[in-house]
């Protein structure tokens, strides 16, 4: 199945990526969000990836790094 990944306010995903099922797509989205959050100018900003199939949104993942003192 083809899934499409977007960030709120970001560009649409015109290509998508093939995954066996929704769970695999969400897991990969979570892994990717972890990597993407590390590259943000501000590490503590939350990062969300929405995952959609051709039928619509199937889930989303959010990564937020919290620093406490």
């Amino acid at each position: 199945m083809r899934f499409y990944f977007t960030q709120p306010g970001g560009p649409p995903d015109e290509d998508g990526v093939e995954f066996a099922d929704v769970n695999s797509a969400l897991e990969e989205a979570a892994r990717t969000a972890l990597l993407m959050v590390r590259e943000q100018p501000k590490l503590t900003d939350a990062l969300t990836l929405n995952v959609a199939s051709t039928e619509g949104l199937v889930g989303s993942v959010t990564v937020k790094v919290a620093v406490t003192r």
Binding site: F5, Q7, G10, E14, G16, V17, E28, A29, M36, L49
Partner: protein, 243 residues
């Protein structure tokens, strides 16, 4: 086009080969074969008796880690001899496979041995190729080790553009590169989703695009700025006026 012509063209990019050298290259016995994408040319552990010249198409070198994940180590274009080291290092320590339909030329080690024994200019040119290959590997390590995802992607595509242009295979800022997002992720140490996000962002910002097996660089300056690309490690001579 004679099968060795692309090799001669590639070597002449950065080496001074005479007409006699070109004739010697042309006289090499070469077995030409058309293969599909994803064809293994040589595999780790093999002991090849031939070297492979890419006449047309694309190939990559890779290794599979013990966790089953593949790391693509380099991409190869027409004119490259990606397994030249097998001439001296008899056992392959990595895999070499096509990533597109390709035309390959196979030259017996014994014929190459004779050629470099009798043509020192060609021996020097091939030696130089292996040194540049190592320089590209050094840059690859920097790319996957310390650059952010967008810079990794931009750097890889900027490098390919330079290499393709050097052998006359780029059309301005457009060149063929039939690669999947999965293969890009294996080359850049990113997930397929991350590759997808980076490409979508570049497309939205009109920086570059990779669609239908073609790369189109719309904003060269932005690509260079994003990636920090400096082509000096490719050692492609420029026709700059002397200082």
């Amino acid at each position: 086009m004679h099968p060795t012509e692309i090799l001669t063209r590639r070597l002449r990019v950065d080496a001074d080969l005479s007409e006699d050298d070109a004739k010697a290259l042309k006289s090499l016995p070469i077995q030409v074969r058309d293969v599909d994408a994803d064809t293994n040319i040589v595999r780790e552990g093999d002991r090849p008796r031939v070297c492979c010249v890419i006449i047309k198409g694309f190939a990559c070198r890779s290794k599979v880690a013990s966790n089953g994940r593949r790391q693509i180590l380099s991409f190869h274009i027409a004119g490259d001899i990606p397994d030249l080291q097998s001439l001296f290092l008899k056992k392959m320590d990595h895999d070499l496979a096509t990533i597109s339909p390709a035309t390959l030329g196979f030259i017996e080690h014994s014929a190459l041995d004779r050629l470099i024994g009798t043509n020192p200019s060609i021996a020097r040119a091939l030696w130089r190729e292996t040194l540049i290959d190592a320089a590209i590997f050094r840059e690859w390590i920097v790319n996957v080790g310390v650059r952010p995802a967008s810079a990794r992607m931009a750097h890889l595509l900027a490098e390919l553009r330079e290499r393709m242009a050097a052998v006359g295979l780029a059309n301005g800022e457009e060149f063929e590169f039939p690669i999947t997002q999965a293969e890009l992720s294996e080359a850049l140490g990113l997930s397929a989703v991350h590759v997808n996000r980076v490409l979508q962002a570049f497309r939205a910002e009109h920086v570059l695009d990779l669609q239908r097996n073609k790369v189109r660089i719309a904003d060269v300056e932005k690509v260079i700025e994003t990636s920090g690309f400096d082509s000096s490690y490719l050692y492609i001579p420029r026709n700059d006026p002397p200082c």
